[in-house]
């Protein structure tokens, strides 16, 4: 996993979604019991990732599984990011 990308995603989630940083691990289930995100939050994540990495994750066909955690989001960004 690319820690630099993961840390940027974590920072974005903390800032845009006001998730307490100390409750957010790379493998925390974002939409499950751990963090409890909902559909509005997923829209915010799409915009946040596009701003950070220029990756349109909904246009690039991200699935529910890709939104599962910081780890899965990082992998998706890595796979679709144009350097």
């Amino acid at each position: 996993m690319n820690n630099e990308i993961a840390e940027q995603i974590k920072g974005m989630l903390v800032e845009r979604l006001r998730i307490p940083a100390d409750e957010l691990e790379y493998d925390s289930e974002l939409f499950g019991e751990d963090i409890g995100l909902d559909s509005i939050d997923s829209i915010e994540i799409i915009v946040g990732i596009e701003n950070l990495f220029g990756v349109d994750i909904s246009g690039a066909g991200a699935t529910k599984e890709d939104f599962r955690s910081i780890e899965t989001l990082t992998a998706f960004v890595e796979a679709h990011k144009e350097d």
């Binding site: 845009r16 979604l17 006001r18 998730i19 307490p20 409750e23 963090i35 409890g36 995100l37 909902d38 509005i40 939050d41 829209i43 915010e44 915009v47 701003n51």
Partner: protein, 754 residues
């Protein structure tokens, strides 16, 4: 006499929206299915996926005289038409009997944009824009424009605000607090709302088509104003009467901050409440002007709730006029109320426009017993019509108009109201900022069972409100259960509302572009988010209104809560006052020149008081802090109308006299006043002089703002709460809390030993 025996009638209409500059033109367009939806002109939408809007063609100068924010200017335009239409002679009429209640969602959003555009460029913002930003100034400005001296209120329950305004007007007239109200709503087109709904992917890329394609809303702008008048007063002055307004319903979903309950429970509840409050049956309703926004979630739940509620009604027609006017947010309910009154009185029902031949076939298959009117108007002689609005925060409101007054319901006889619970969140002085700010640690919320997954969604205002709300419920010994969830309601008072969220959202889109608004932040820019979160967390499903009306809003919320109980809506109400102190607030008050040397120190806080009817309090053996002896609000009508925080000895004296009379007490019976003095010498000395004149030199005056700063609505609510505590602890038997605020409105509440 039963309190709500008073008939309320509609005697004037005013309307301005994308399909017409007045009522006649708009109604004619609506009947003919002419849509006002075009490409947006107010701002550049090129980076967005949608470019549609329903804008009013008139300029601000054409609407009013150019010095007002566009939302207020729209309100002034519609109010002027309504006054003229009603035939009220403003010169000979007693101005103190005419009040103004206006709903708004986004308030002075055009000025917010202008002000922060300047600030973001490093320029000094225009002071007039700053003063026009909050919702709190709208009704007062409209009242001053037409010299109305009755009670004012700004109802800020997002998309249900216009409907709630009419509902509140009925209750105030039935409670003897006014004879005539200009009631309605106004909202301008704004980059803030456009960007927010765009972020939520809630805009339709083409024209919205409610109950049809359901791909999203099209935003609009406009204003609707109805002259709501007591029947006696209308007859006395020989007014033309359009129809009766029989009653209303208000409910909370307690589900989600933006989405309606998929099962339609809250919507069905509000329909039932309005029908019962109006003394009708489901089978009486002939026409429903639906909320009908065009989002998939709304259309699905509303279709379900209408079909379920009216399953036994074989003659109800339904349409959504938003297909032509666009969704005018806080004005929507008022615009639709005006169109509903016209439909009822002329026997011509407007359609939902935009259906193709294929769409009509699909509609026929799914509509069952309901006559969904599409494309062409329906000519029908009808007796009872309903207009529904459902808002962010899970707030639902419904009003019923009637040609036939005979079925007027007679509800609960007057009974005592007690304060049975108090929850206080105060600020502590911070030398570094010279403000009083509250500690909102996550641990405090955890102790009340608030999970961080929920808490993180709440802005500071909502967090303050949630904390005082749960504290008050705990203090009152109330656990919200399926048995009592529907008899408990909420009335929030605030001066500035979520101005921090509004400013930050606007600054975000100035920096990043209109297409990059935050979907997460946008729901918190509506003033009723705090009340919505309180309902969602606690499960309270009853009445839910948010009033933004100056510093005195914390007292006005108690007045409105008392009304909600007196008219049988609820048995228990949480009446609150809440305002926050953030860097944005500090900057605003510094720019306004209110803070700094010789003025006040800004504070924040939230105070929730549980107001409960006697039978309920006695039955559950509740602690009774004090009994409400009387409440009154009055406006200054003689001072400088360019100064909306003007001091008025006449208005202050009047509210005190009124509460004494209502409580049947004399000045010598009052031991203590909880006053509004905040450190500004002119205000403090004015206040003391008036009290001395009324009560004599010896009257004790307590000033909470000395210890907790100017926390605006939270301060006025704190005055009330501290008074209740003093009485409960036996310090004295009778006292009065007094406050005043923007729009020169003064409010007094008298508490007496329970």
């Amino acid at each position: 006499m039963l309190m709500n025996e008073r008939r309320c009638v509609i005697t004037g209409l005013g309307l301005v929206c994308a399909i017409g500059n007045d009522t006649e033109e708009s109604f004619k367009s609506a009947l003919n299915g002419i849509s006002g939806i075009k490409d947006v002109k107010s701002f550049d939408t090129s980076p967005c996926y949608s470019h549609k809007g329903a804008e009013v063609e008139l300029t601000n100068e054409q609407l009013a005289d150019g010095k007002y924010d566009r939302t207020t200017a729209l309100g002034i335009k519609a109010a002027g038409e309504a006054i003229k239409d009603s035939g009220i002679d403003m010169d000979s009429e007693d101005a103190s009997k005419i009040g103004v209640i206006l709903g708004s969602c986004i308030a002075g959003a055009a000025c917010v944009e202008k002000y922060y555009n300047q600030k973001c460029k490093g320029e000094k913002g225009d002071l007039n824009d700053l003063k026009s930003m909050p919702a709190t100034v709208i009704a007062g400005n409209v009242a001053d424009y037409y010299n109305c001296g009755g009670i004012t209120a700004n109802i800020v329950n997002a998309c249900a605000a216009g409907t709630l305004s009419v509902a509140l007007a009925i209750d105030l007239i039935r409670g003897g607090k006014g004879e005539i109200f200009l009631a309605g709503g106004c909202d301008s087109f704004s980059s803030l709302a456009f960007s927010g709904f765009h972020a939520l992917r809630a805009l339709d890329a083409s024209e919205c088509s409610p109950f049809n394609h359901s791909e999203g809303i099209t935003l609009g702008e406009g204003a609707g104003v109805l002259v709501v008048e007591s029947y006696e007063h209308a007859i006395k002055r020989g007014a033309r009467i359009y129809c009766d307004v029989l009653g209303s319903g208000v409910s909370s979903d307690a589900y989600h901050i933006t989405a309606p309950r998929p099962d339609g429970e809250g919507q069905m509840s509000v329909i039932e409440r309005a029908i019962k409050n109006s003394g009708l049956d489901y089978s009486d309703i002939d026409y429903v002007n639906a909320h009908g926004t065009g989002t998939a979630k709304n259309d699905e739940s509303e279709f379900l709730s209408l079909k379920t509620s009216f399953a036994g009604n074989d003659h109800v027609s339904v349409s959504s006029t938003k297909s032509m006017t666009g969704h005018c947010l806080g004005a929507a309910g008022a615009i639709e109320a005006v169109l509903t009154v016209k439909a009822l009185t002329e026997g011509k029902l407007p359609p939902t426009s935009g259906y193709s031949e294929e769409d009509l076939k699909v509609l026929a298959e799914k509509s069952g017993n309901i006559d969904f009117i599409a494309n062409k108007p329906r000519e029908r002689d009808i007796k009872y019509a309903m207009s529904n609005s459902f808002a962010f925060g899970g707030n639902n409101a419904s009003i019923v108009f009637a040609k036939d007054p005979n079925k007027l319901n007679l509800l609960c006889p007057k009974q005592d109201l007690y304060v049975t619970g108090i929850g206080i969140v105060n600020g502590e002085f911070d030398e570094s900022t010279n403000t009083y700010t509250a500690k909102l640690d996550a641990d405090i919320f955890k102790a009340y069972g608030v999970k961080s997954a929920f808490l993180r969604k709440l802005d500071r205002l909502s967090q303050l409100q949630l904390l005082s709300g749960v504290k008050a419920l705990e203090d009152a010994g109330i656990t919200v259960t399926p048995e009592n969830e529907g008899i408990i309601g909420i009335c929030i008072g605030t001066n500035d509302g979520p101005m921090t969220e509004i400013a930050n959202f606007q600054k975000g889109i100035i920096k990043d572009g209109i297409e990059k608004g935050s979907a997460f932040a946008f729901p918190n820019t509506v003033y009723n988010a705090a009340g919505g979160y309180l309902s969602i967390f606690t499960g309270i499903k009853g009445y839910n209104v948010t009033i933004a009306n100056g510093f005195q809003s914390g007292l006005q919320s108690v007045c409105a809560a008392a009304g909600a109980i007196m008219f049988g809506y609820e048995s228990i109400m949480l009446a609150t006052g809440t305002d926050e102190c953030t860097e944005i607030d500090e900057e605003i008050y510094a720019d306004l020149g209110y803070t700094g040397n010789g003025s006040f120190k800004l504070g924040e806080g939230s105070v929730t008081c549980v107001i409960e009817k006697a039978s309920c309090a006695v039955e559950r053996g509740a602690k009774r802090y004090a009994k409400i002896g009387g409440f009154s609000s009055a406006r200054d009508t003689s001072g400088d109308r360019n100064n909306n925080t003007r001091l008025s000895e006449a208005a202050l004296t009047k509210v005190i006299e009124n509460v004494l009379e209502e409580a049947q007490l004399k000045t010598e019976d009052i031991s203590c006043i909880y006053g509004f003095g905040n450190g500004i010498e002119e205000i403090d000395s004015f206040e003391m002089e008036v009290y001395k004149k009324i009560f004599g030199e010896g009257i004790e005056v307590k000033l909470v703002k000395k210890d907790f700063g100017e926390a605006r609505a939270a301060s006025s609510s704190l005055q009330f709460a501290m008074l209740a505590k003093d009485i409960y602890e036996g310090r004295f038997e009778n006292g009065i809390a007094v406050s005043f605020g923007t729009s020169a409105l003064y409010s007094a509440l008298l508490l007496t030993k329970a």
